[in-house]
């Protein structure tokens, strides 16, 4: 059953708040139905102020393309790209659905082309497929990798500067080599549980795709699939500001010079409406800067880099105490390393971790509580807000992506669910693909 609704799209706060309330009501409505759909399904945005979209079940479910795969990765960003490559390399038939036009997410489309941190206290703590992609990008671009034996004067100095364009293309090549099918411009419209796993209807312009899969890896950043399925998610009243990256005055020299950036306060990637607002606000601020500084705009990223939206409530929740104490979880599958880094309206005061501390990420924090055949990776990891401010960075998300895919692939092979795959098997597969396992070095 799908919703029909009218919506006026005005870019002001009051309208957005009303939209959020309506979305919550819509979601409750969905959960009562047998076919689960996104809260925003049926809503349409156009240049006119009012649009009504009516759908029939028949029109919605008739696909032009069908896929039957082992693993469906939703979201081809930082975590999703790595997850797809890992699943493909481990022998799972994999489809990667990405709503944008390229892989890499924050690293490429957001322009945060300095992923980190792969090292802690003089040693590499995150490796595997993410590191392989970053390293090859740097080498192909003639860049320089940081020397992990050297003490960074500040945490961000060991971020690895990559050429975002090279990174995006190399990611595609690695997906292709791993037999991963990529579907750009598409996103899930409805998800139904089946005996064999899931049936996911995706939509893109001119494309309706039905995917039958055994496992879903939700790498959407805001745990959109998890939300569609009605599992509990966490979100703060206020979001950290996003960053819009651009270059004013001088040309953009990728991988060697950082772009200019400005905060987009209230940037929220929860849905297309809030993301639209963030992009409009960010670009308008940049235009104002162009007028004020009277300099040429030489480079502009396609969208805002978002810091937070929804997080899942997983089987395990990583607290800031777990994070800052470097707790080694029994079911740890990857490391994370970054200061507690909560951005506010006035900026950020990173709180570095104590010497020797290296947090770990448990498998339970990637599994939505009470779910089966569903796993997440990326910044929506089950964690409190402060822990998430350190966990959300790219290297950690890459580690999570690889771990989630290893668990999902082994679950397919063992005809079980990721949380029931023996941990030793997950560790074994991750090790085989170059990952570093917490407590096993």
């Amino acid at each position: 059953m799908f919703l029909t609704c009218k919506e006026n799209l005005f870019f002001n706060h009051a309208t957005l708040m009303a939209d959020k309330k309506r979305a919550i009501a819509d979601r409750r409505h969905f959960l009562q139905s047998s076919v689960l759909g996104a809260a925003g399904v049926g809503l349409a945005v156009s240049s006119s102020s009012s649009v009504a979209v009516a759908k029939t079940d028949e029109a919605t479910i008739k696909p032009e393309v069908t896929n039957e795969v082992d693993v469906l990765v939703v979201g081809g960003g930082t975590a999703g790209t790595i997850a797809a490559i890992q699943a493909g390399r481990a022998g799972a038939k994999t489809l990667l659905v990405e709503r944008n036009f390229q892989l890499g997410g924050a690293t490429t489309t957001g322009g945060v082309a300095f992923p980190g941190l792969f090292d802690a206290w003089g040693k590499q703590v995150i490796a595997g497929i993410g590191w392989e992609l970053v390293k090859e990008s740097v080498e192909l671009d003639g860049g320089k990798l940081p020397d992990f034996a050297k003490v960074p004067r500040s945490h961000w100095m060991n971020q690895v500067h990559v050429n975002q364009f090279v990174y995006a293309i190399l990611a595609e090549e690695k997906c292709r080599d791993a037999d991963v099918e990529i579907a750009y411009y598409e996103f899930p419209e409805a998800v139904v549980k089946t005996d064999a796993g899931w049936q996911v209807d995706c939509i893109g312009f001119g494309t309706r795709r039905r995917v039958k899969c055994k496992q879903i890896i939700d790498c959407t950043g805001g745990a959109e699939v998890v939300g569609m399925l009605g599992f509990e998610r966490l979100r703060e009243e206020e979001r950290q500001p996003g960053s819009y990256l651009f270059q004013l005055g001088s040309s953009h020299d990728p991988a060697s010079k950082q772009l200019h950036r400005l905060y987009v306060h209230g940037a929220d990637s929860t849905n297309s409406r809030t993301a639209t607002l963030a992009n409009l606000t960010g670009r308008q601020s940049i235009l104002a800067k162009v007028r004020k500084d009277k300099k040429r705009l030489m480079h502009l990223q396609p969208e805002t880099g978002f810091r937070e939206s929804y997080r899942i409530k997983g089987e395990t929740l990583i607290t800031v105490q777990d994070y800052t104490s470097g707790k080694l979880f029994d079911d740890a599958v990857s490391h994370a390393f970054y200061p507690v880094d909560l951005h506010t309206k006035t900026g950020v005061r990173p709180k570095p971790l104590k010497r020797g501390t290296v947090p770990s990420i448990p498998l339970g924090a990637l599994v939505p509580k009470g779910s089966r055949n569903l796993i997440v990776a990326g910044r929506c990891v089950s964690s409190d807000r402060l822990a998430n401010s350190g966990l959300r960075v790219q290297a950690s998300c890459m580690g999570m992506g690889q771990a989630a895919a290893a668990a999902a692939t082994l679950a397919v092979q063992g005809n079980t669910t990721p949380s029931e795959v023996p941990l030793a098997k997950i560790h074994g597969l991750l090790k085989k693909h170059g990952a570093i396992i917490p407590g096993k070095a």
């Binding site: 003089g122 003490v151 004067r153 500040s154 100095m157 950082q258 950036r261 005061r349």
Partner: protein, 295 residues
Amino acid sequence: MAGSGVWAFAQPFSIQVIGLHALTGFIFIAVIGLHIANNFVPLKKYFKNRVVWLVIAITIALGALFYIQPPPIKAVLGLSGNLGPALDRFEMTEEGMKYDYVPSSSYKLSLDIRTGSTYSLENPPRLAVWLENQSFYHIKTLYASEAEDAKGMLPYWAFKVKGWEQAKEEAEKKGLDLNETVDAVSGATENGSFDPADYILPGETNSSMPYRVMIEINQPDDSSKKLKDQPSLIYQVEVDNYDPLAFQLLELVGYPAKEMNEENEEEWAIYYVDERFGSAMSLINSALLTIDRSP
């Protein structure tokens, strides 16, 4: 007293200069007392003169200005790197070294360095203690060994001081504010202030900037199994008045090594200590920074 005053303005953190200035001050007060006792009757006549009252009023006004320290006066004081009535004291005992710094009655900083098992009192290691701002620039040396070879033995501190002096020189040449001339290391961090007072005694705690207390220590000719002469070691702690802590231990960061940067310039970087180090690791038992901030 005027001579020692000028000297103290240029070298405000020297205990010898401050001591000399205080001594001449006491002598001056004693001389004034004798002068008044000797000339009491003629002095009384002075107070009938309006000019005398004007002089007294001007003196009180100037005294108040230097006490309140509005920005122009603060700028003048800033030329000396002084923080107003700051006093520091460095003391060396058998147990270690103690550095006290009291820029105001409401802010007392104390660095207590306890010597380790390999510390030699007969041939003490070279030591420098300094502050760095959030852009990693040296902003003030609190203490440096007076030995002639100190700069060579403490290359990281010397490199930092040199960088700071160069930045100052460039700023003076261009007639610009220092913050405008020295590039931030990255867009991620804005340039910090170069005025120690902005860190140690921030006017507004909410907008205060973190700073680092750094130690570099080096024992001459100390070999280990794998090194002929172990390099100096660097310890640091970050102080953030926004999130104040009373006690903080300085942590070992690493050892400095010379390298060429991307602009082909020589610079010193810090590397993590590895298994080649031995006795150097025991020069310092611990270094505790205590800051008493009373409201």
